[in-house]
Amino acid sequence: MSAQMVTSGLGSNAVLGEQFLTFILNDEEYGIDILRVQEIKGWEQATPIPNTPAYVLGVINLRGAIMPVIDLRLRFGFDAVEYSATTVVIVLRIKNLEGLERTMGFVVDGVSDVYNIPAGQLQPPPEFGGSIRTDYVKGLAMVDEKMVILLDVDHLVASDMELGESPEEQASTESALVE
């Protein structure tokens, strides 16, 4: 009975997209569309992928699937912290431009809360500021006098893919410049 209610609640909210899961990163609170969250799991050692940026911690075995894990602290330029038993990985379903779905894990300091944020309370991100490029900030919202930064995860990952897409090309461009 209660499960049904929750599902139906989610279903109706899906249209408005107003439920957000928030997590803490360096004492800041970030929110993501809750419908993109597949699961939340504890941290486990990842196998590093060669020649990828430091914030790509590696891949883990998620029930037989190979899933990359990204450290959002490092991604946003915060200092690294030791991973512990309480470190949390949020597993998200990400869509790329072609509509293909990927599953990726994001290491955060801790999961905070679930908020209902009506679309009207969303404020557009400021033009500049912080180490985050604002194009993957969906908006800002005030909840109980606290600011929550709502992330557009698809965008975040898309720009990641561009960044590291072709180390070969980068290398060859560099060598061309040298000569």
């Binding site: 196998t47 590093p48 060669p50 020649n51 699937a65 190979i66 990927r102 060859s172 000569e179």
Partner: protein, 738 residues
């Protein structure tokens, strides 16, 4: 009539594309001037099935088009028409057109009506054209039997539903010819308690008020000829001359064949479904009976399509995949959910393996119930059995994905025929080892590179007959496709006996493009390798066949992506040979586990030549940058894996490490690793599924302990290595940036 026939569309299209492939190969095999009746029959049958299905599903343009092709084929079969080269060419073109039409119908897109109409007109023109056989004139005189009204008695046998036919559909079909008066004869209907839902008890008398030829009426009942008594009698005497209706443009010519006579029994063909024609109420048909008909039609249909699939497997199965690939860009992409047809034997083997696995599992379960140390031996046995079962199951499942390479090769006879006549060359195609099996995915991806190489061989390799004769060769060139298994992989060779690669021309072009320095004097093998460089083409004129220079680098890249290699051998004046080496499957590979620092990596066993301990003194360095290992008079560049992969090594002293000698594109390299761990088969999982491709890594796998290990792409490692070491560029930087 609640059966949703659109669920059968996919099966219909699959079968139709197989049919088209069968028609094509049949047409290619037809010898001009001496028709082989069996061959024509095969083509005819394929066309007929396509037409029948199209009629059922209401694809009218397909029906009409196929009908004309069928008529033409029928004339050939009965000897009224000679098998000429023009006719075969026209039919081949029509097959192509039909293929496009089917693709458009499947994707619910508009088709090129102009092209369709042109093809249709060409066919009609040929049909109407002077028939060059004495028999034709004679038969053509027979007047078409027509009437303004017909009385049709349709008394199906009780097993009609078993054949998948639906009387209601036939009646509706008949109603499209003209107004019908239908009387149902329900005399045979038993008491309700004795009613068998799968038996047909009804018969019908239909009065059709339409000026149509008898053949048109009979055609409605074509599929049930064998399963019903059908009598068609004219109500009024036929008028002397009746023009066939527009929908039946060649119905009159159907009259020519003996098939039109009332007593004639045609072989029954299994058909299914129902037409989407207007509903025609059959009098006195009980509601329940009508519903039963619908359900039965659906049920038997499904059953039969399963049967068909299993019996028709192999030969047709091959063509379908081949066809799907050769359907090219749009067609291939739009196909969406692909399917494979699997030999029933393979499925049985699979079920067998599963059965054994279940037995082993229950045995182990029973063992664990009251486990004591005494049972240890039993447990060990059980686990050994489990391992056997698992391996068997794995092999069986893999074999499902394995298909003979003829899938891929089958498209080439047509390609070679078309191209050679276009280029004015005489070419004989030899195909060897077409039963060599390889993975379906590999096959799909190797199709385009193969086409490219074949086109190149025809365009650049083989000479025109006069040049061949002048150089003392036979006028017709030979193109050979060969496939065989070798060392856990498959080798595909494309060779021709043409002029071979022109070293001088390639070298000039390479220098012009800056691929090769003006002072360099590369070896033959290196020169031939330049043709795989991006933007390289020596063809003086860009023809529409080849010469745009985008091809060979794409060919090599595609093959590389599959974990394969391609090399070219050439002898001036004698021909060229392209040898492609591919892994049998992409899903599983034999790997060597190596440890570098704290991480475990997997090196594909196929790339490894040997592994050895480092001999002190055999390592030399060039200009203090590149290390070279001397192994039996060979000098191998040493690749320090830990540097490339960015890991802290266990030791930087060479003496503590091992070398794994790998071969890439015919050149050997030594990979420096900390430890060799063992060999095992690993299941390849793509990094791209959830991440992106990574240079130097071809994928990942999950080890026995659940940890993820990267599978190294040896070719990619070497490329990375070259890019890092600016001192050893294979290509000058300008070429690389382009």
């Amino acid at each position: 009539m609640s059966v949703d026939i659109s669920q059968f569309h996919q099966v219909y299209f699959e079968e139709s594309f197989e049919g088209l492939a069968a028609m094509e190969s049949g047409l290619l095999g037809l010898s001009i001037g001496e028709p082989d009746n069996e061959a024509i029959n095969t083509i005819f049958r394929a066309a007929h099935s396509i037409k029948g299905g199209a009629g059922t599903f209401g694809f009218k343009s397909v029906t009409d088009f196929t009908h004309i092709m069928e008529t033409l084929l029928d004339e050939m079969r009965s000897g009224q028409r000679m098998v000429t080269r023009e006719a075969v060419d026209l039919l081949l073109l029509s097959v192509d057109q039909l293929g496009r039409l089917l693709v458009a119908t499947r994707d619910k897109q508009a088709y090129d009506e102009d092209a369709f109409n042109t093809a249709l007109q060409n066919l009609q023109a040929m049909l109407a054209g002077a028939q060059n056989s004495p028999v034709a004139a004679q038969v053509a005189d027979t007047p078409a039997l027509s009437a303004t009204a017909w009385r049709v008695t349709f008394a199906p046998q009780s097993h009609l539903f078993m054949t998948g036919n639906d009387p209601a559909r036939l009646l509706r079909e008949l109603a499209t010819l003209g107004p019908c008066k239908v009387t149902c004869d329900s005399a045979k209907l038993p008491a309700f308690s004795d009613f068998e839902p799968e038996t047909c008890y009804l018969a019908w008398q239909i009065e059709l008020n339409a000026t149509v030829p008898e053949a048109a009426v009979r055609e409605v009942f074509e599929w049930v000829d064998n399963d019903a008594e059908i009598a068609v009698t004219p109500i009024l005497p036929p008028p002397p001359e009746v023009k066939p209706k527009a929908e039946e443009p060649v119905a009159a010519s159907e009259e020519d064949k003996p098939a039109a006579r009332p007593s004639r029994i045609r072989p029954a063909r299994l058909r299914r479904g129902e037409a989407d024609a207007e509903s025609q109420e059959a009098q006195a048909t009980a509601e329940s009976a009508s519903a039963a008909i619908a359900e039965q039609a659906g049920g038997t249909e499904e059953r039969r399509s399963t049967e068909r699939r299993s019996t028709e497997r192999r030969s047709t199965e091959r063509r379908s995949a081949e066809r799907r690939e050769s359907g090219g860009g749009a067609a291939g992409a739009a196909a969406g959910g692909t399917s494979i047809r699997v030999d029933v034997e393979k499925v049985d083997g699979l079920i067998n393996s599963i059965g054994q696995l279940v037995i082993t599992q229950s045995m182990l379960m029973a063992l664990s119930d009251n486990f004591s140390v005494d049972d240890l031996e039993k447990l060990r046995e059980g686990l050994a059995q489990l391992e056997r079962n698992t391996r068997e199951l794995q092999e069986n499942i893999m074999s499902i994905r394995m298909m003979p390479i003829s899938f891929s090769f089958n498209r080439f006879p047509r390609l070679v025929r078309d191209l050679s006549s276009k280029l004015g060359k005489e070419v004989q195609l030899r195909v060897l080892g077409e039963n060599t099996e390889l993975d379906k995915t590999v096959m799909e991806k190797i199709g385009d590179p193969l086409v490219h190489l074949v086109r190149n061989a025809l365009d650049h390799g083989l000479e025109t007959p006069d040049i061949r004769l002048a150089s003392g060769k036979s006028a017709s060139g030979t193109l050979t496709l060969n496939a065989y298994h070798e060392g856990g992989g498959i080798v595909i060779e494309i060779s021709d006996d043409g002029a071979g690669l022109n070293r001088q021309k390639i070298l000039e072009k390479a220098r012009e493009k800056g691929i090769c320095g003006p002072a360099e004097n590369p070896s033959d093998a290196q020169v031939y390798d330049y043709i795989f460089a991006p933007g390289f083409s020596t063809a003086a004129v860009v023809s529409d066949v080849s010469g745009r220079g985008v091809g060979m680098d794409v060919v090599r890249r595609n093959i590389k992506d599959l974990g394969g290699t391609v090399v070219v051998h050439s002898q001036p004046g004698l021909g060229a040979l392209f040898r492609i080496r591919l892994p049998l499957t992409l899903a599983i590979l034999d790997g060597q586990l190596v440890r570098v620092g704290a991480s475990v990596y997997i090196v594909p066993l196929i790339a490894i030549i040997e592994s050895l301990q480092i001999e002190r003194g055999a390592v030399e360095s060039i200009s203090n940058q590149t290390e070279i290992y001397r192994l039996r008079e060979e000098y191998l560049p040493v690749v320090r894996l830990h540097e490339l992969l960015g890991i802290a090594p266990a030791s930087t002293r060479l003496e503590d490490c091992l070398l794994v000698v790998v071969e890439v594109e015919g050149r050997k390299f030594a990979l420096l690793v900390d430890e060799l761990l063992g060999q095992q088969q690993v299941v390849v999982k793509s990094l791209q599924t959830n991440f992106r491709s990574v240079a130097g890594v071809s994928g990942a796998t999950i080890l026995g302990n659940g940890a993820v290990a990267m599978i190294l792409d040896v070719g990619g490692i070497i490329r990375l290595c070259r890019e890092r070491a600016a001192d050893l560029p294979l290509l000058p930087p300008s070429a690389r940036v382009a």
